[in-house]
């Protein structure tokens, strides 16, 4: 169906208003202003507003922000809670835990000088800075496909609005416009749906290890002021996840009597009966955590996949006409469990490269070779190099021995073991057969500390226009029932943190149901489906969660 599309042209189009995309936008404008020239920069964002789809812990290391806006304090950046102290626990069982003495905490887990923040609010602030610098930001519009002509990325096409479930135009059909650019920056975050296509099309990962992922589930609680200690940062590993599922938990004391609590489950887990959502719910009952939450109220819920392969899995960053930045490439530092400062820095490096070219009169469409050069020479590369073995150590040797080896590498060798470890099995290949893995019986939620999925998704204020094509596409609709169900008891029912996937119906007449309206855009299904049969595409712009301060 061909439709007439409006076209706008820019010097740089950035897909995604997260920390990386917004930092890149600001940097481009700063560089142009320094040179006394104009650069036209546009950012599109699928969330209904900037920050609506942002979810992170978060403890921010301000290094990149200091470089971007040295006067961020005067500009009122929402960094209000400096980290006061760190606590690290090894949870041994549902009731016991070992607290690590400060001396034994791996260096990347020290947080002096960092801030407990809401990344969503930081992005809202960054967006304001960007707009003041002259960047055009359009939330509520989802980039749907790259425009590729003669092998060169020329921009993106925005998704059409007003198409019904059957794919027909409704009365209010509005074709998405084409945003064309000399360079297009893809900053969609972990497992961007266009980034994924570009990585495949340009074989950007041909020299990298397979990428690795986790799913982070987070809640915001308002707790008893007497128990609230702003700036207290708690990390933990161990229970409820087993030794072979090296995840991590956090509880950060934020402002206004709020605490941010979450669990990260690596998507390399092997037991198909595992449910990250239920692991998180039961985790909150651990005495170390429950003592803060008891008597409090849960105010927000959300989930997002995170990318943790690090330097070993980093794809090539450039292709003709565009670049991958931030977690669309995978710059998160898993040893620190921090990706915001690295994503910002990455965006700034790409911006430096593009500004240099454009201000010298470049026509664009070429590969920005200067960007990977700047990347290699930066502290970002140095930092990711030091952490390159972390995820692999944990995955190969488990939480205890892997954790100990990491301590030795980080604290004795300064992050520089004279060798690099590799983890070559992609996360979708790690599941055991359902019949060969123990079933896990999760306790019923008590409605005080733990909750069911639907009441949780309700707190994410997720909404999608109902009458639109399902944005979770099955390449082969028979796979869930014919293969995944007998082999793995269809794990989508459990790994989805929003209850999107259900197997319904009587035995013999089972049906796979997709409740796309619930989708919180975490992308876990696209990553973990053992048949790689689920393709996540962007729904109508503005759909998805409406996170307030995640």
């Amino acid at each position: 169906m061909s439709v007439e599309r409006d076209v706008m042209e820019y010097d740089v189009v950035i897909v995604g208003a997260g920390p990386s995309g917004l930092a890149a936008a600001c940097r481009l404008k700063q560089k142009a202003a320094e040179a006394g020239k104009e650069l036209a920069v546009c950012v599109v964002e699928k969330g209904s507003e900037v920050g609506a789809h942002i979810l992170s812990g978060a403890v921010l290391e301000p290094r990149a922000l200091n470089e971007l806006f040295p006067d961020w304090q005067q500009r009122g950046a929402p960094l209000n809670v400096p980290v006061k102290r760190d606590e690290v626990y090894f949870f041994l069982s549902e009731t016991s835990a070992l607290k690590a003495p400060g001396l034994f905490i791996p260096k990347p887990m020290h947080n002096e000088g960092n801030y407990v923040i809401s990344l969503g609010n930081l992005c809202r602030w960054l967006a304001k800075q960007a707009e003041d610098l002259g960047v055009e930001i359009y939330p509520g519009f989802a980039a749907q496909t790259p425009i590729i002509e003669d092998g060169v990325v020329k921009g993106v096409t925005i998704g059409d609005m007003g198409i019904n479930r059957e794919g027909e135009h409704k009365a209010d059909f509005a074709p998405g416009m084409e945003l064309r650019a000399k360079y297009t920056f893809f900053a969609e975050g972990c497992r961007g749906h266009i980034g994924k296509q570009l990585i495949a099309q340009y074989r950007l990962d041909s020299e990298a290890d397979p990428q690795h992922y986790g799913i982070g589930i987070k809640e915001v609680w308002t707790i008893d002021p007497a128990k609230h200690e702003p700036g207290l940062v708690i990390h933990g590993a161990g229970w409820p996840l087993g030794n072979d599922t090296p995840g991590g938990a956090f509880l950060y004391h934020f402002e206004n009597n709020q605490v941010l609590v979450g669990l990260i489950v690596p998507l390399s887990y092997s037991n198909p009966h595992l449910s990250p959502f239920d692991e998180f719910q039961r985790f909150k009952h651990h005495p170390v955590i429950a003592k803060y939450l008891e008597g409090g109220t849960r105010t927000s819920y959300g989930a997002r996949a995170l990318i943790k392969g690090g330097l070993n899995s980093l794809p090539k960053l450039t292709f003709p006409g565009g670049v991958l930045i931030g977690d669309d490439a995978g710059t998160l530092n898993f040893a620190k469990i921090k990706g915001s400062h690295t994503a910002m820095k990455c965006g700034m490096l790409a911006a430096d490269a593009a500004a240099e070219a454009l201000l010298a009169g470049a026509e664009g469409g070429d590969e920005l070779k200067r960007y990977p050069e700047l990347f290699k020479a930066s502290w970002l590369h140095e930092e990711l190099y030091k952490s390159r073995n972390f995820g692999v150590l944990l995955h190969k040797f488990g939480v205890y021995i892997g954790g100990a080896l990491n301590y030795i590498e980080q604290n004795w060798f300064g992050g520089k073991f004279p060798f690099t470890l590799h983890d070559l099995k992609p996360d979708y290949q790690t599941l055991k057969k359902a019949s060969e893995a123990p079933r896990i019986s999760y306790p019923k939620p008590d409605g005080k500390l733990s909750f069911d999925k639907l009441s949780s998704v309700f707190l994410s204020s997720t909404n999608h226009e109902e009458d639109q094509p399902v944005h979770l596409q099955l390449k082969d609709p028979s796979v869930p029932i014919a293969q995944n169900l007998p082999l793995y008891d269809e794990p989508a029912q459990r790994y989805c943190p929003a209850g999107v996937y259900e197997v319904v119906g009587e035995p013999g007449a089972k049906r796979f149901q997709i409740n796309a309206q619930n989708c919180v855009h975490c992308k876990t299904c696209d990553i973990k489906d053992p048949a790689q049969n689920i393709n996540w595409v962007a729904p109508e712009g503005g759909g998805g969660p409406n996170y307030a301060n995640m």
């Binding site: 409006d6 706008m8 209904s48 507003e49 609506a52 809401s118 969503g120 609010n121 809202r124 055009e136 359009y138 509520g140 519009f141 925005i158 609005m161 007003g162 209010d172 509005a174 998405g176 416009m177 308002t222 105010t299 309700f458 707190l459 204020s461 997720t462 909404n463 409406n546 307030a548 301060n549």
Partner: protein, 248 residues
Amino acid sequence: MKALVSVKRVVDYNVRIQVKSDGSGVVTDGVKHSMNPFDEIAMEEAVRLREKGKITEIVAVSIGSEKSEETLRTALAFGADRAILIKEAGEVQPLTAAKALAAVFKKEGAQLFIAGKQAIDDDANQTGQMVASLLDIAQATFASRVDVDGGKAVVTREVDAGLETLEVDLPAVITADLRLNEPRYLKLPDIMKAKKKPLDTTTLGDLGVTAAAGIKTTKTSPPPSRSKGIVVKTVDELVAALKAKGLL
């Protein structure tokens, strides 16, 4: 013929409202805001009337902090020709809003005042009516169909008994009900153009209005949480349970 459309910035309808712990109001910081959905319908109707050639100019107006500029930009993207922000950082009660909007209406010499029937934040459902009273002009509220012809408007209203059709002389106030129309999707090119359309700022003082404080909100509390349901096995049990609750 000129139409004035008033639009209000409210907490987005998708957002789960949270009451502040001290009961002084609801949490609005860091919460997504958007145009009151009934005002979107009013805006859409104005644009359709202009497309039909019934009106020639649409002026959007809002009262609030500078953040309401976003809401006015949305109105401009819908198709308003220009916008006026009445800047007021404090609370604006319906009577204050009505006085300010009536003043703008007079100043602009408009013939039609179109607004949503109510805003989804305070559900007051008063402003349109009071604008009509203050200006001593006709009003047709809860419109589900609007036809404008010459100096008259024919408005169908949804009332308890069904549909009521009124004919009002212009100038008049019309407030939009849910089924008047379905607002269009805003197109990216229109949002881009809206950034360049004129947006003027004024104040209550400029309009000769002082903020009234006739209403004092004494307490805000969340609705009681729903108690757990029970599963009954038979119809008899159901009937007995309903009777026990006095529902049968």
